[in-house]
Subunit: 341 residues, 2 copies
Amino acid sequence: MEKQATIKDIARTLKISTSTVSRALRDTHDVKQETRKAVMELAEQLNYQPNQLALHLLKKQTHTIGVIVPNLDFVISTMVKGIDEVALEAGYTVMVCQSNESYGREIVNTKRLMDSLVDGFIVSLSCDTMLVDHIKKIQDKNKPMVLFDRVTSALNAPKVILDNEEAGFLATQHLIEQGYKRIAILSGPKKLELSNNRMEGYLKALKQNNIKVDKDLIVYCDFNQDYAYFATKELLAMKRRPDAIFAIADKMAIGAMLAIKEKKLNMPNDIGLVGMNNDPSTRLVTPTISTVEMPAFELGKTAAKMFIEMMHSDKDMNDEQIVLRPKLIIRESSLKIVGSK
Amino acid sequence: MEKQATIKDIARTLKISTSTVSRALRDTHDVKQETRKAVMELAEQLNYQPNQLALHLLKKQTHTIGVIVPNLDFVISTMVKGIDEVALEAGYTVMVCQSNESYGREIVNTKRLMDSLVDGFIVSLSCDTMLVDHIKKIQDKNKPMVLFDRVTSALNAPKVILDNEEAGFLATQHLIEQGYKRIAILSGPKKLELSNNRMEGYLKALKQNNIKVDKDLIVYCDFNQDYAYFATKELLAMKRRPDAIFAIADKMAIGAMLAIKEKKLNMPNDIGLVGMNNDPSTRLVTPTISTVEMPAFELGKTAAKMFIEMMHSDKDMNDEQIVLRPKLIIRESSLKIVGSK
DNA sequence: TTGTATGCGTTATCAT
DNA sequence: ATGATAACGCATACAA
């Protein structure tokens, strides 16, 4: 309806200067009780709200965090919720931009937010991202930035991640303990370090158990159900097919499950399956799918806390890295009851 | 690294006035080729980027849209993706705030964004929202606002919604055609008009088929799997239990499914089930769950387009309402093959 | 074609 | 205790 009232309006009406109004609105001292009261009352009456834009320009900060994520699937939106929670409490507003797994989109988004809109960034890389110059630009401008979940060693920045090697190890070791011998891995895009780390956990488990690595059982896949479905079909068509599959994301595990069912193979008896992320659907399908859970909400919160700390301190935090622990959740798809075979 | 270069820096270096620089950077005429070229080159070299905050203050707009959503589940994040797409193309940046289905949180979020941070809002209400004064305030300040998906007639604003009555009708009519007689509905919170509209579709279908309404078969439920699970258990414990259930959201349908399976009832033979939203998990479970699909991405895009139109025109659009059509997807949970009983 | 002055809303510095 | 003024970075009406 009406135009937003400003300090000037108050000053004019009360026939005092804008500086006095400004002070009355904030300071406790240096202003007469009487004036202060008058100002407060009029402000209330006019429903005065300080113009944030003016403050932003003046203070050169916006109290806004740019959050760049590859998409908003279950796990990531849980992380975002964590970021949100901490940010809100610290007085920050969050701008979430999804890059849709596109490198180009990620660049556009960071560029747009960079130009004085946000104080800093919390970033998780898209699958598609190879070069990280656009991220380096953030650092060049001295804006605080924290990487989380999908990080890269090409960037020297504070990071909050899952212990992905441990996750890969847990899943694989579990399959081995259940008696599976030929364990395939559906890994993610090679560009993502997270894929490689989970794979290293897989390799480590094989090695510790003296199982020879079979290159044919290592498949690189997109984070995508359909792709995983086709990849699994191929795996199952091998002369010596795998007797277990570790998919490094539940979306892919679901794709694998569909291929396995189509082939009329029984889980866990004919073939074992473990996914990762504890996506709600893994509990709903038949059989239920074992998975490695990551503390997504906690991870988001931690990233935000780290960001806030980085904002408020001036020490170099680029070497800091917080690693959270994954947790194995055993369900039907990989649990061979003793003697059930 | 270095401080961001400003127009002043360029002016000083080139020994010309800031206004000339400003013009050279934008206008085509009114500036000598020579000067223009010099300015452009120096700007390039200094990596000059206009300070958005200054522009915001000057123009009194931010080219930012505040998007308030109750959460970021599958359907909603699909809608947000649609909003994002259109907004980006139109040169707007999107600030997504999830209210977590909390009335209080919704208020905090709108308030925070309102204070000169965004040019307007695209809003979907939280389950919990009863009063809409905080939304009315947006309108009082003459900020464009579009409601989508979860809307309320308490607000006079442009709206983009699904034809929820039609959705309810489609689902119920389908169940009736499959021969189900005692059809229960798991409806959502009464506060949400969307719940009531879907329910009206349900009632309409019953009426058209001369089926008497049984109040015991109408259950109000939270949008939540667990709640639906317990509600369904109660329904199934009735002396004359329903032989079909329409859950107005897939999350609830999943809850219902779990209760049905626990009771060892067969879908679709002993009992039929239809959900709504076409959540990916409905295709994964056994049996697959019939559902009513809404064009979520399209709905988001439409809302954003409407918002942009509202920004650029000054005609009163408060009475506009765009209604999108739902689509029934029949799957195993409700399809009785003829003679299969 | 270019420069000067003013303003967007606020706070901080320096007077008074 | 309060006021005048400058500044944040930019655009624009008005002069020249």
